[in-house]
């Protein structure tokens, strides 16, 4: 069974934010919610790098561990899904997430949060809705994965900086790139997310 991962080759990212737009469009993500974002390190200085970041679909996902109602779980492909019917919007997954992935629509009083929303790897929802159904799309967004396609953000990345797919394959692609061009700033977030780094 394949283990799905994300890898952002920061030496290729040109901070065009097209992945962010593609994600928003594909999944019809509401205003104020960003499943994916681009963070620029050392902005304006020599060695500036941009990294596109969303849910990394961690190994032993900390969000799933801390969830008080256990609505988050990994699929067979290692994609971390959640069930919005069960979620109570407590915000704990955001404290546990190393990548700031969980998003909450603001509802009601104080800073209280609605049901959590995050990157689903374009694999639909973790609830009871039928895969590919309109009900699933309304709640979680696109289910490209069910059609055998990879996430929209990575698929349309213009510089092929953002890679999605089986962890071993994208790690190999990255290794070859680093070997060929002679440099690489590392697989951002991999040690934290997957407890392994890509040796180059």
């Amino acid at each position: 069974m394949a283990r799905m991962k994300f890898l952002c080759d920061a030496d290729r990212c040109i901070e065009c934010n097209a992945c962010v737009t593609a994600c928003k469009n594909e999944n019809e993500v509401p205003w104020g919610i960003n499943r994916r974002r681009v963070v620029t390190i050392n902005d304006g200085k020599p060695g500036e790098r941009s990294v596109s970041m969303a849910c990394m679909h961690c190994t032993d996902a900390p969000c799933a561990a801390v969830c008080p109602v256990t609505c988050i779980y990994p699929s067979d492909d290692g994609i971390v899904l959640h069930d919005k019917d069960i979620c109570i919007g407590c915000g704990y997954c955001f404290y546990a997430c190393p990548f700031g992935a969980p998003q909450y629509p603001r509802v009601g009083n104080f800073g209280s949060r609605g049901k959590m929303d995050k990157c689903t790897y374009c694999a639909g929802g973790g609830g009871t809705e039928a895969p590919g159904s309109a009900a699933e799309f309304a709640k979680y967004g696109s289910n490209r994965f069910g059609e055998g396609k990879l996430p929209m953000c990575a698929e349309m990345c213009s510089t092929k900086s953002l890679l999605a797919g089986d962890g071993d394959i994208i790690a190999q692609i990255y290794r070859e790139r680093v070997a060929k061009r002679g440099y690489g700033s590392g697989a951002w977030g991999w040690v934290t997310a997957y407890k392994e780094d890509i040796e180059v």
């Binding site: 620029t40 902005d43 941009s50 990294v51 955001f94 800073g111 209280s112 590392g186 951002w188 934290t192």
Partner: protein, 335 residues
């Protein structure tokens, strides 16, 4: 221009130039041919994570907390929440219940030594009882709904299933958020109205030396509140302040706090709340089962004279003296 001024100018110029040189040397690396090498200046994430607790950068969206790219502390917080808090909380709370059960088995209910006199004296006024019960009821609700967030998935979820548990927890979340205001109001009232009688006095040392009333042969002297009650007052005030401040930070997430401070607020809230629950379990035991005649003080407000003599002799003497003074017809004429 004087010599001193000229020298100063030279020194400042040299200093500025060397600063510029130092900064660019640190920030930019050059290739073997002397040309700037942009790729060599790149910080790789491994090195960066060793230098800073979390990697932050610039983002294009207004959500400022999204500027944190990687925060490995999330996994640490996960460990705290799922391992330390579960085990620590269970040990502290179940341990307290076990200790209280043991105390009951060994000492039993401590009876009023001389039996009831049948005469009553007012110990807590209606407003004092209202303040106490406002705090007490909201504390129990906050405690149960709070424990549900931590232990519900272990205890309650297997019993009622995920859908029902989600509904219960959703309601519990809102109840916890709203009842917090009642608790803080009650806490402030208690802090004010019982403040004077909870200041430590010399008699508290005697009370401790006499075994705090738990040794039958010895009488432990006390004013309106004995040292044990004063301890409950001050510890409750401290714990209440800690859970209130951390609680309001959690109620308004990321309002002037960052991710590390939010995690810290949750840790403080959880740890103090668990200890607070243990303290109040002890308080409830002594006030109900543990000591005969104690509950009436907060129930009807009136206690038996013999109970007061045994537990709060100095206070009783003062109250009786006051009553005598009021009864003297010459003291204050009727209005």
């Amino acid at each position: 221009m004087t010599l001193v001024a000229r020298a100063r100018l030279v020194i400042v110029t040299v200093a500025l130039l060397s600063m510029v040189a130092a900064v660019s040397a640190r920030a930019e690396t050059f290739g073997p041919d002397g040309a700037p090498n942009p790729t060599a200046s790149v910080v790789d994430q491994g090195t960066l994570l060793k230098q800073v607790p979390r990697i932050e950068g610039r983002i294009d969206i207004p959500d400022t907390k999204a500027s944190v790219l990687v925060q490995p502390a999330g996994r640490t917080w996960d460990y705290f929440h799922e391992v330390l808090l579960h085990w620590g909380g269970a040990i502290v709370i179940l341990g307290t219940i076990a200790l209280l059960g043991l105390a009951y088995l060994i000492m039993g209910r401590i009876r009023i030594a001389e039996g009831r006199s049948g005469r009553k004296i007012l110990r807590f006024k209606a407003f004092e009882r209202f303040s106490h019960w406002l705090t007490a009821v909201s504390f129990v609700i906050l405690g149960l709904t709070g424990l549900n967030i931590t232990f519900g998935k272990i205890v309650l979820l297997p019993l009622i299933g995920p859908e029902a548990f989600s509904d219960v927890s959703q309601a519990a979340k809102y109840v916890h958020n709203f009842i917090s205001f009642a608790f803080v109001a009650g806490l402030i009232l208690i802090a004010i109205i019982f403040f004077r009688d909870n200041l430590l006095e010399k008699v508290d040392i005697d009370w401790l030396k006499q075994g705090g009333g738990f040794i039958k042969s010895r009488h432990a002297p006390a004013g309106r509140f004995n040292f044990g009650e004063k301890l409950v007052y001050w510890l409750s005030l401290a714990a209440g302040l800690a859970v209130s401040v951390s609680g309001f930070l959690l109620l308004f997430p990321f309002f002037g706090t960052d991710i590390a401070q939010m995690q810290l607020a949750q840790v403080v809230h959880a740890v103090v709340a668990v200890l607070f629950v243990a303290l109040i379990l002890g308080h409830i035991y002594i006030g109900t089962l543990g000591i005969e005649g104690a509950f009436e003080a907060m129930g009807t407000g009136e206690v038996d004279l013999n109970w007061a003599k045994e537990h709060h002799d100095l206070w009783l003497a003062q109250q009786l003296a006051n009553q005598d003074r009021q009864r003297q017809p010459s003291a204050t004429p009727a209005e």
